[in-house]
Structure formats: C-alpha cells, structure tokens
C-alpha cells in the first residue's frame, strides 16, 4: 500500500517531465570517456615510442661515419697545399671517391696511381695541414647492414660490428635455458594438473610462484656464486671459465621454469574432464590419458607457453650480465665467456655513456634487434593460441 502512495506522484511527474528525462548528451561523461580512451591509447604511444626511438638511433648507427685503419702510412712529408702524396705499398685498399683521413684532416680521393694518391684537401669542415712521414691513413666507412648481419666479430674499438657475436651468445644461453626448463616445466605441469591432489597442488603452486617472484638479479648472484663453482667442480677448473654461458643458461632455465609450468598447467587444466573420463572408460591408464589425450588437447596452450618462455629467456638480462661474461666472443663452447645482446647493452650503458657516440647508437641497434626477436615470438605464440585452440563446450 505504501509503495502505491509513493509511486503515483512520480507517475504523474513522468508524464509532465518526459522531455526533461530524455537522454541528454552529458559533457562530463564524454570527457571521462575521452580521458579513459587516452589511458588505453597510451600503450600504443609507448609502442610507437619504442619503435621510433630504436629506429631513429639505429639509423644513426648505420649512417655514422667511422674511421678504419688501412695500415698504410705516408712515406714522404706533405705540406698544407700539396694534393698528392705517396703511401706505403701494403695495407688495405681504397678507391676513387673514398674519404680518407690524415690525422684530423679529411680528404677525398680523386685519383690513385700505384702508391701515389691525389686528393682534394680539407673536406668535412677540416682544415688542410702539413703531415709528416708515418702519418696513418684512415678510411671513412659506415657500418653496413650486410656487415652487421653476417659478421661474427663485435669490437667497437676497432670498428667491428658483427651482431652474430652477441646473437650467438644469446642463443647459447637461451638454448641451454630451454633444454633445462621446457622438459622440466612440462613434467611439473603434468604432475600438478593430472596427478597431484588438490591439497598438494595448493601447496606446490604458491611455492613455484615464489620462484617466479624472486628478482632476476638474485638469480644472477646464484649463477655466479653457486652454479659456476658447481660446474667448475664437475667439469674441472681448466675447462670451465669463471664467466660462462652454461651457468647463466642453466640458471635462466630455473628462472623460466615457473613460467612454463604455470602456463602449461593452465592449458592442461582447461581440458574438460569428459575427455579424461572417456579415455579411462576405454581402459587407458593415467599416464596414457595424460600423454595421449590431455597433452594433445592442450597442445596449443603448451606451445604458447614454450614460446613465451623462449622469448623471456632471450630478453633476460641480469643473469647474463653477471654470470655470462663481459666481452663479446663468438664461441660455441658453453664453458667459455661470451657476452649476450642484453649483457652488452647493460655493460656499455653502465658507465657514463655520451649521447653522441657509436656506443650509444649501437645499444639502440641491438635493442631493435632484440625487440623484433621477442615481439616476433610473442606474436607467434598469440597466433598459435588463436589458430589451434580446441574449443570444448
């Protein structure tokens, strides 16, 4: 009864104020929506920022002028006006149109006859000056894409920029990590999902999560103070160097183990119970059910977990910065020191890095490479999940 008394006047009002109650555009609502959109769109800005900054500085990396030693020197003195000079006969060759440098002065080669070179003096805002016998001839060059992607020596001091020295070390540590983490992680996932009781699972999962929450620098400490001495004790102090990729790789494996096991376990648990029951009813054992029915049904999720783990291993930084070694080396021996892409970035940016230098540009070039490698793997994993996921009702 009470409600009737209350509602009647409102009903009348609704009739009279219908116009007033019509949906009006509200400025505040629109503003809020706009702001929230910006919050979401910031992530795009971040991605654009990453690609733009990495790309811009990488471009500088490939266009910046470098001076390379030709191992040739002047054999006769040369005054400031002279345009020809004689150089030593052996050393690296250069051609007409190349820019060469004598001490601080840049010149352009316009003619070469045997060991007599004719040049245009004072190029690139340098001034012509007199040179004595023995002045080194340096050749101007830029890092080419071909050199960057095919050479295996990375040594900025002498102008060697072959990314494979770094990529190879990254692949060595990642490969070791994968060998450790993927089989172990899958076994842990199968055990937790298919065998463990609810009680065991609810104790073990948080423990593995703790492993995932430990900062990577602690794993670096672990690699250097535990894994390396262990490897040296097993394989001999002479075989295993203090810094080596095997130790870093194994520890990265431990680091990504919880990632693999928890993602794979999620995929296995998502397989409906009916599939397992069907397998049991056909007389399959628990193992056969797990391996021949559940794992194939969850394969897309497991594959995605593996790929994400690989991408994580490639991008891992602190473990390799501490334990893998501080100096690029192209080696396939896991017991030798080698610097990875991430390790190299950390080491050279650790000092005071000046902005206008090849080192500064090179970390962006390496970063871009790393970004595309991990991004490619992540996109691949998302594709796999989307494309091959078995939908169960």
């Amino acid at each position: 009864m009470v409600s009737q008394v209350n509602t009647r006047p409102y009903a009348n009002e609704t009739l009279t104020h219908r116009a007033a109650l019509r949906r009006r555009p509200k400025i505040s609502e629109t503003l809020i929506q706009g702001f929230l959109f910006l919050c979401g769109a910031l992530s795009i800005l971040v991605t654009v920022g990453i690609v733009y900054e990495l790309g811009k500085e990488s471009l500088l990396f490939f266009t910046r002028q470098q001076w390379e030693e030709t191992n040739r020197t002047l054999v006769e003195p040369m005054d400031a006006a002279q345009t020809t000079f004689k150089m030593t006969e052996t050393g690296m060759g250069f051609g007409i149109g190349d820019t060469i440098r004598l001490r601080r002065e840049a010149t352009e080669v316009i003619d070469i006859r045997g060991d007599v070179v004719t040049v245009e003096r004072a190029h690139q805002n340098t001034t012509a000056e007199a040179h004595t016998v023995g002045v080194e001839i340096e050749l101007s060059r830029q890092v080419t894409l071909a050199e960057f992607f095919t050479k295996t020596e990375w040594n900025p001091q002498i102008g060697k920029y072959g990314i494979w020295a770094l990529v190879n070390a990254t692949l060595m540590t990642s490969f070791t990590a994968i060998i450790v983490a993927l089989p172990l992680g899958l076994c842990v996932a199968i055990y937790l999902s298919e065998y463990a009781s609810t009680r065991v699972r609810s104790t073990l999962k948080p423990l593995l999560e703790v492993l995932a929450a430990v900062p990577t620098v602690v794993y670096g400490y672990f690699a250097l103070t535990f894994m390396t001495p262990l490897l040296r004790a097993i394989f001999g102090v002479n075989t295993v160097e203090i810094y080596n990729t095997a130790s870093a790789g194994i520890v990265i494996g431990v680091l990504i183990l919880p990632l693999v096991s928890s993602m794979a376990e999620d995929a296995l648990s998502a397989v409906p119970q009916s599939l397992r029951q069907a397998a049991y009813s056909l007389g399959a054992t628990r193992l056969e059910t797990a391996v021949k029915v559940v794992v194939p049904a969850a394969l897309s999720g497991i594959a995605a977990a593996f790929i994400v783990a690989i991408s994580r291993a490639i991008g891992e930084t602190m473990v390799v910065a501490i334990a893998a070694g501080a100096g690029p080396a192209f080696t396939f021996n896991p017991f030798k020191a080698a610097e990875t892409m991430t390790g190299h970035i950390v080491r050279i940016s650790g000092g005071d890095l000046s902005y206008d230098s090849m080192d500064y540009n090179s970390i962006f070039a390496i970063g871009l490479m790393l970004f595309f490698m991990t991004l490619g793997l992540n996109i691949l994993s998302q594709r796999i999940v989307k494309r091959f996921r078995e939908e169960y009702e």
Binding site: E29, Q33, F35, L36, F37, C39, G40, L42, S43, I44, V46, G49, I50, E53, E57, P183, L184, C187, V188, I190, Y191, Y195, P206, L208, E209, V210, L211, A213, P215, V217, V218, Y219, Y221, F222, L224, T225, F226, V254, S261, T285, L287, V291, R312, G315, E316, T317, M318, A321, I322, T342, I345, V346, S349, F364, L370, F371, T374, L375, N378, Q382
Partner: protein, 419 residues
C-alpha cells in the same frame, strides 16, 4: 553374473598381458614427473640456502682498539648513548681531527648512528681479514679457529650476521664492513612510489576503457593486442626507451631545471623521476591486464541494476563496478609494485649512480636502488662484497615476499565475496 565375467575375460585376452607393462611405464613416468617437481623445489631451496650461506658466518676481525676496552661501566659500545660516544671519540682521536669533524657537522646535530660510525671508523677500525660461509661456520668450527690462530694471531673470530641493524641504517660505503643499504632502500621506495603513482591511475583508466566503454572495432582491437605485446617486451628495452625519452629528450623536466629545482649534483636527467617513469611504463601493461581481469569478473547483473535505476555509464563504473573490482585491481597493483621493486636492467641503462652515500632528497636526486646495489656488489671481485650482496638480497627478498603475501591475502580474502 558369471557369464558377464567370462565376456570381459574374452574381450581382454590380447590386452591383459600388456597391462603390467603399461602400469610399470605409468609408474616410471609418475616418478619422473614427481622428480621434476622436486627439482623445481630443490632449486628454490638451493637459491635461498646459497644466499643464507653468505649472509651469515664467521669472520676474522682485526681491531685497532678492542671495543671491549671502550665499554663504560659494563655497557657495551653498541648500546652507549651519544654523549658517551662523543666522549670516547674525543679521547681517542687527535684534537685536530676532532675539531675538523666538529666543523664538518657539529656533534650536537649529528645522529647517534653517525657518531657511532665515526667511533668505529676512527677509533676501533675493524677490518675483516677473512670470512667463512655459514656452512663452514657450522661444520668446520675447529678448523676455522685453528686457521685464525695460525694466520691472523691479532684477529678475533666472531660470528657475524652481515644483515644487522647497521646494515639497514648505514648509507653506502666503500668499506664492506661499514656499508649499508639505507640509500638503496630509500631509492627503491622513491622510484617505485613514482612508478605506481604514474601507472596506477592510467592503467586502471585504460582497463576501464577497454572493459566498459570500448566497442569491438579495429582501433580497440589494436590496443588490446598491443597491450599483450607490450607485456612481453624485455625490460631492458624499456630502459633504452627511458634513456632516450626521459633522460635525454625530457631532460629539462626530469632533471628539474624546468621547475628550478635541479639538484646541482645531478647531471643529465639521470634522476629518480626518470627511473620512476620508466618503471611506470614497464608495469603499465601488467596493471592494465590485471585490472581488466578484475573488472571482467564483476557480474553484469550489478551493472544492469545500476543502469535500471537510471545511473549513467560513469556512475555505474565509479559506484558499482570499481568498488567491486578493487580487491582484484589492488592485488594486481601489488604484484606490479613487487615487479618494479626487483627490476635492475632498465635502471642500469637509465644510469643509476654507482656510488651514493647521501639520502635521496626528492624526485630530482641521483638514485640507486636495492637491486642495483646487489648487482654492483656481486660484480666486485672481492669476496667480502659477496657477503653484503647476500645480506642485501635477504632484505630485498623479505620486502618482496611480504608484498606478495599481502597481495595473496587480499586476493583470498575478497575472492569469494560476490559468489
């Protein structure tokens, strides 16, 4: 019944001999699966034990002056009040040095800890000549004692916890015996604080947009995919981005010159603010993804009830969706904080300082953080720095574990509220 049994027997005639083998294989693999799980747990245990092994243990200390002789009326040096410590200092150092210290900062204004450190540094001058791991200290005590007696006759053997009160309270120092993590802890709190203040509102806002407002069109799909991809970008890439944008491009802002607040000692925008913003970008995708999940878990009946009462979209979100999603959102935020607190690589690239012994005094100060400190101490060749690195790891891990535990408690407490 009997017929039935026979039938089964007939059907499985080719099947039964195979069965024991299949069960054996099953058992074998169960052992393997269990073993793999145990290996994971052993790794965790080894990791923690390895740290503990270095954080505690016997040390052989050579003191210039035995601290016991400095005790006053049976009160140990550790517990003496400031006035007594000043007196000891005055008695034991030259008058010139005492005046110089007084000139640097009057003793009346110095803290007790500061004076205590001066007494150690100038009077006692302890020097750790050798240190042993916890394992050795527990099981090889007699041998260690013999070693000390033979090699360091003047040294005193004592059990040292590298993690003690003074380790937490002291600033960084070049001597491992006196080094502490106060500046690093403060640096960590500052950077992570800035990161969360920056990333939390934006992250939650983005999550609300994607879950409550965004239509299923191309641009929103791009945003969604993009956030997932950003979550997988290695943290060092964020460091490079921060170096290019916050440290270099926005230097006037991040070094404080724009606001006239620049710290004279801070050069190049390598400041707490730059580090905080970089960490903020790093945890942004994580916060968005967790907040999205929390918002998605709010039942739509709540929204419909709110709309039914005439609430606008924002009123519905603000008064009904967000309060109900908050536990989940906060849990995600805490995980993000702990991630930011453990990050090292991006901060090294940003340009964390290698040595600071003054407390950071604001967002425009130079910075160091706990993980950075651990990294630097680990990289030093001297063994004694491994010990303080281990002690710093204990501090960091305890900090992170308590953060994560609070997140888990929060999650468990509120997870079934809406069921």
């Amino acid at each position: 019944m009997k017929a039935n049994k026979d039938a089964i027997h007939l059907d499985t005639s080719g099947f039964t001999p195979n069965l024991p083998r299949r069960h054996r294989v099953g058992k074998l693999w169960l052992v393997i699966f269990r073993f793999a799980t145990v290996v994971g747990l052993i790794a965790l245990a080894t990791l923690l034990l390895n740290v503990m092994n270095s954080a505690f243990g016997y040390v052989a200390v050579e003191n210039k002056v035995d601290p016991d002789t400095l005790a006053v009326n049976g009160v140990e040096l550790d517990d003496l009040p400031k006035a007594e410590l000043v007196r000891i200092l005055q008695e034991n150092v030259s008058a010139g040095l005492f005046r110089r210290l007084e000139n640097d900062e009057p003793f009346a204004e110095r803290s007790r800890l500061d004076v205590y450190n001066l007494v150690l540094e100038r009077v006692v001058e302890p020097r750790v000549v050798q240190q042993w791991s916890l394992q050795d200290s527990l099981f090889r005590r007699a041998q260690i004692e013999a070693e000390v007696a033979a090699n360091y006759p003047k040294a005193e053997l004592e059990f040292k916890s590298w993690l003690d009160k003074y380790f937490i309270l002291n600033p960084q120092s070049a001597r491992a015996e006196r080094a502490g993590v106060r500046t690093a802890i403060l640096g960590s709190l500052w950077t992570v604080g800035i990161a969360i203040v920056f990333a939390f509102p934006i992250g939650v806002g983005g999550a609300i947009y994607l879950e409550e407002y965004a239509a299923d069109n191309a641009i929103n799909r791009v945003i969604r995919t993009n956030i997932n991809n950003l979550a997988g970008v290695p943290s060092i890439i964020y460091g490079i981005l921060g170096l290019a944008i916050f440290v270099r491009a926005l230097e006037p802002l991040t070094s404080g010159t724009l606001l006239g607040l620049a710290d004279p000692t801070t050069a190049n925008g390598r400041t707490i603010l730059s580090a905080g913003l970089t960490l903020g970008l790093l945890i942004l995708p994580m916060i968005i993804i967790n907040a999205q999940e929390a918002i998605r878990a709010v039942p739509s009946s709540l929204r419909q009830a709110s709309y039914g009462l005439g609430a606008t979209r924002w009123q519905t979100v603000w008064h009904h969706v967000l309060p109900n999603a908050m536990p989940g959102v906060l849990t995600g935020a805490i995980f993000a904080i702990s991630r930011a607190m453990g990050e090292t690589a991006p901060l090294v690239v940003i340009g964390a300082s290698t040595f600071i012994n003054v407390d950071p005094n604001g967002p425009f100060a130079k910075f160091t953080t706990l993980p950075i400190q651990i990294y630097q101490w680990t990289s030093r060749p001297q063994d004694v720095f491994r010990n303080i690195a281990a002690a710093a790891i204990v501090v960091l891990v305890l900090l992170l574990l308590s953060l994560n535990a609070s997140a888990v408690i929060l999650r468990n407490r509120f997870s079934r509220r809406l069921d």
